[in-house]
């Protein structure tokens, strides 16, 4: 791919690769929502996932699992999509960190409020 794909294109490509593997196994499958668990819901094995990652590397030219993301953190279709979206748009990862920081700040604020009440 010569130009960076959009978020929607990445999602469509990842979904397409997963559906192709499932089609080999159980025939044509419907639209994926993103919440499906790769193993528990769809029945994909680790090797199936490795195959999908190899296919996506050939198509998209990136492998987010080489350095950025641990494959063990990928549980759902949405997790896999996000890993590739972050590979193209690193700011998504930062916004994830921002969300985590905001959540931590909120928890600290609640703890302080509780201490004041005591």
């Amino acid at each position: 791919m010569l130009t960076a794909p959009t978020l929607a294109q990445i999602e469509a490509i990842v979904h397409g690769r997963i559906r192709a593997v499932l089609a080999e196994r159980v025939g044509e499958v419907g639209r994926l929502s993103g919440t499906e668990r790769l193993s528990a819901t769809l029945g994909l094995s680790s090797l199936d996932l490795a195959f999908v990652v190899a296919e996506l590397e050939a198509e998209l030219g990136v492998d987010p699992f080489a350095k950025l993301v641990s494959i063990t953190s990928v549980r759902s279709v949405g997790d896999l999509v996000r890993a590739y979206q972050q590979a193209f748009f690193p700011e998504l990862e930062r916004s994830g960190e921002d969300r985590a920081l905001a959540a931590a700040a909120k928890r600290a604020q609640i703890r302080r409020a509780r201490r004041k009440r005591r």
Binding site: S45, S46, L47, A50, F51, V53, A54, E55, E57, A58
Partner: protein, 245 residues
Amino acid sequence: MPQARKVALVSGGSRGLGAELVSGFLNRHYGVATLSRTKTTFITNMLRARKGRHFHWSQVDGRDHEALRAFVKEVGERMGRIDVLVNNAGIAMEGVLPTMRMRDIVEAVEVNLTAALVLAQACSRLMLRQGSGCIVNVSSVHAIRGHAGVAVYSATKAALDGLTRSLARELGPRQIRVNSIAPGYFDSDMVSDMAEEQKRRIARRTPLGRLARIDEVANAIHFLTSDQASFITGQTLVVDGGITC
């Protein structure tokens, strides 16, 4: 331009067993890609004779993971596929462990084991997409029998045998076979420094009464990579004239 002929990637193909394998695969009408740290006379002659036809060489240090991965990518693009990987590159590391330099230990692990892991990972991705492939790791009889003075070398080679068995289970469902070969002593650069008396002692202890010829070791690898071995995976083939039996 992708080619129809099968492609073999041999690490450490500039001399010894690696060079024998390069010639053997070319004679079997494979496209051959090889990497080595140095450009030997063998490589220079092959490049001149082949003029890029079905033969590709790059200067790569086995300790450079990125360069190894880039080499596999380049071979995949230039030759269209990779059917066979032979993890042959290795260094002999002699000396008792208590007095061995740490940097020598690390180098042996990097060249003998980590490089094989990196190449197997990169090649297996192509093989997964192809739905076929074959990997042979060059181990050693030192992985099977203990010998004083080769503890680090033995550890790296035994690790390759462990890798072989587990990787065979991982990749088998996609029709990728993984085996290793455990040669005994054979005529190569690695035994060139050995004293004649030591070679004679090894020969005396070997049921077949001699060291192996290099082609005898290469032939076992060609067998494992051929269709004749199509139902063999996860095994270590010992080619040692019976010294470990």
